[in-house]
Symmetry: C2
Subunit: 457 residues, 2 copies
């Protein structure tokens, strides 16, 4: 560890020709952004005037209309809504109860792409699996007519990395249970709070596997069901879930630009996603990200035309399968992107920056890391991969920067009814805007060429 | 303030003939209770094996059956269920949404005794009142066909005292709105959390006033509705609430005793309530209280027969109007009560003790206050009034003791879906058991007579 710290310190001290740009101007822009109000205004506007905006619904369309109007009014150029078709799933009724031995309701929510029960519901005996591995190990057909229940508990971490480990239950658990003949599956929510707020999120069934009803229990309910199971008697649960696939609807990506003075210098893409799960108003996930990137881009625009074009992407349909990011990549893969970054992890303080830059652009990264130091942001050693909506762009060989946010409380709210405006801390949000402003001020104006990185797709 | 502190200090130093009881034995019982597991076991049992237990329903009956069996198994005497009839209200469907200008759902719950909408709901324009005083000042008939919305915000306090101030909106607001012709009323939940968990609670309509639909919005929803209203356009809300009055059902009080060796020395009554609101499992409110008082009484029982009878009361139907406490008082007003106390404010640490003792029993109070000092419990100057279920007994002239619990987070969970077992901190709960054990050890064995106090009813 000491070796790594010394190496980083040497890089800061000797490696960076800071004079390649006017770093005092960058610092002034950065520090002015600590008084930003626009990011919060945008977040407040989307969450209040639109509210929940599930991909493919008319609410998502209203969010795009709202965004086109607002970004146009802010002075961005080439503002447009780029529609694409989306196979759309919508929530129905959702109720559950322990029928025996101790009758009582359970709070849950259907996972995206869940199958439906008949309108009057189904009833079945619970088969308990502590982890996804236990479910995977269950013999074929052993779940016939039963309701699988998988309950393993993620832990809150600063980097949110347990979402990858534990999220697998949600992503593949329903398919595994369906293949083994289960009538339905319940999972402990992929989340870290103890409120009666289940965490939504998408799942997928493979071709040829018939979707079964699949739902996430709020954490108190998952633990209650475990306690009831520990009494050792058969536990029967009744479940009513009536979501529907409603066929192809229209989603879309909203794009806005700050045109650069040297089009050949390329495009810096900054993204967020505009759709949200339907239970909350999508403040943390991800109106905040849209507020942050738009506010930072606006600050660069107002400071004078940048060298490179800054393109702001409010992606559609991220939650249900990153369909906006994919549609963007298909439509714009030939555009001269030189850098991509996304804000999609709430609005809490940024604590680390990771890069994926070609060697020739290392000084650009060094200057950014230096400019972020006063904001309490350290330099990480991970290879930046972008948020979901820019990951295809970065994987194709475009350089990337990850401004990593504190995630300790992110999975308390993520995909729940609790993802509402009151969770946004305006002070921490301003620190985000300042970091993005500093990053954009440097990246969009760097005199160095920012070339390709190795493609990973 | 200095004068008061000096007076209290003098009382501790000189006022108390501690030798009237074996205070070492009391201290030993108290400190052993800091390892108590029974209070948590009872709380876990009621909340897991019964769950929500709304007054008058079969679930409340199951809770009584559970309690009679458990208290009997613990060795208490004269364990019984004393039934009484209860006019019973049950929740139905509850949904609401802003229809215009910004369509989106709102999370709410019907107040107890709320009227119902037609099954398909009603729609109306919101009339906003910042406080109950503003609603009261509205001209007669000015709300005809409108939906009143009263949104004033209580603050979390250690003593929970704002519940009295702000709870008035819930208690009388619906009646006031109905008298002015409102089609319905929405209130900001009487609570302090920012989760999408509305706070239930009872309201009442005066004779001759027809009950209107009345519901509490979760705090994020109340603030969202305020933000929408601040846009200045008419706001229309659709509301579906289908609760029902289902007529007379049976509720009841569960009673258990530790018989005293000197019946003439009277009864020490320790109470909690067994019913809960239906949204959570009633862990904080009030399975915890039942666990605490039963565990403390059991410790005294196991230490040898006390001088006075200890009577444990698990009251029914507290939430819906203290009907259990009233039924108990009617049935037992002639019983020789000498002291009454109740645990009904969660399971967080006790920080203060207040007394209502006759002068001759002052040494009993002094000894109790002294025995509580090692637990971090200071002596207050309020006149103990008891929890709701013993308030009639105390008001009739029986001495009382209030062991005041920390209430800072109580109104985060109170009457919400979030009132679940995971909110109980076992360490704090044990401090409660220790305090109640010390209090009972002294009060049930005090050689002094504990006579009447001035009646207040």
């Amino acid at each position: 560890m000491i070796r790594i710290l010394l190496a980083a310190s040497a890089a800061l001290a000797f490696g960076t020709p800071l004079s390649a740009q006017d770093m005092n101007a960058v610092a002034a822009l950065r520090d002015a952004a600590l008084s930003d109000t626009l990011a919060y205004e945008i977040t407040e506007g989307i969450t209040t005037e639109v509210g929940p905006r599930l991909a493919g619904t008319e609410a998502e369309q209203r969010a795009r209309d709202w965004s086109v109007a607002r970004l146009t009014a802010l002075g961005f150029q080439n503002v447009r809504d780029e529609p694409f078709p989306l196979k759309t799933w919508v929530r129905g009724e959702e109720r559950a109860a322990i029928v025996s031995p101790f009758p009582q309701p359970l709070v849950l929510t259907a996972l995206g792409n869940s199958g439906a029960t008949p309108p009057r519901g189904i009833e079945g005996e619970i088969v308990y699996f502590p982890t996804i591995a236990d479910l995977q190990a269950a013999p074929a057909a052993s779940l016939k007519g039963k309701i699988a229940f998988v309950s393993h508990a993620m832990t809150a971490t600063q980097d949110g990395s347990q979402y990858t480990t534990y999220g697998v239950v949600r992503r593949i658990g329903p398919n595994v249970a369906a293949e083994k003949g289960a009538a339905a599956i319940l999972i402990r929510s992929i989340g870290t709070d103890y409120h009666r707020n289940p965490h939504a999120g998408g799942t997928n069934f493979e071709d040829g596997v018939r979707p079964i009803p699949a739902a996430a229990l709020a954490l108190p309910d998952a633990e209650q069901l475990e306690r009831v199971l520990r009494r050792g008697k058969p536990v029967r649960v009744k479940l009513v879930l009536t979501p529907k696939q409603i066929g192809a609807r229209t989603s879309g990506n909203v794009i806005a630009e700050v045109p650069g003075s040297e089009p050949a210098a390329g495009i810096v893409l900054v993204a967020c996603h505009l759709d949200s799960w339907d239970l909350g108003t999508g403040a943390f996930d991800d109106a905040a990200g849209c507020g942050i990137v738009a506010a930072a881009a606006k600050r660069i625009m107002d400071a004078g035309q940048p060298r490179r074009t800054i393109r702001v992407l409010f992606a559609g349909s991220e939650e249900v399968g990153v369909f906006g990011g994919k549609a963007y990549f298909e439509a714009h893969r030939r555009d001269p992107h030189v850098l991509a970054a996304e804000s999609d992890f709430g609005a809490d303080r940024i604590w680390r920056v990771d890069f994926n830059l070609p060697a020739a652009a290392k000084p650009v990264g060094d200057r950014i890391a230096t400019a972020l130091l006063p904001l309490g942001i350290g330099r990480g050693t991970a290879i930046a991969g972008g948020g979901a909506d820019v990951s295809a762009v970065i994987a194709s060989g475009v350089a990337g920067i990850d401004l990593q946010q504190h995630g300790t409380r992110y999975f308390d709210y993520h995909h729940t009814p609790d993802d509402t405006l009151d969770k946004i801390d305006p002070v921490q949000m301003r620190q985000n805007v300042a970091a993005w402003t500093a990053m954009l001020a440097i990246a969009a104006n760097a005199p160095e060429e920012i070339g390709a990185v190795p493609a990973r797709n």
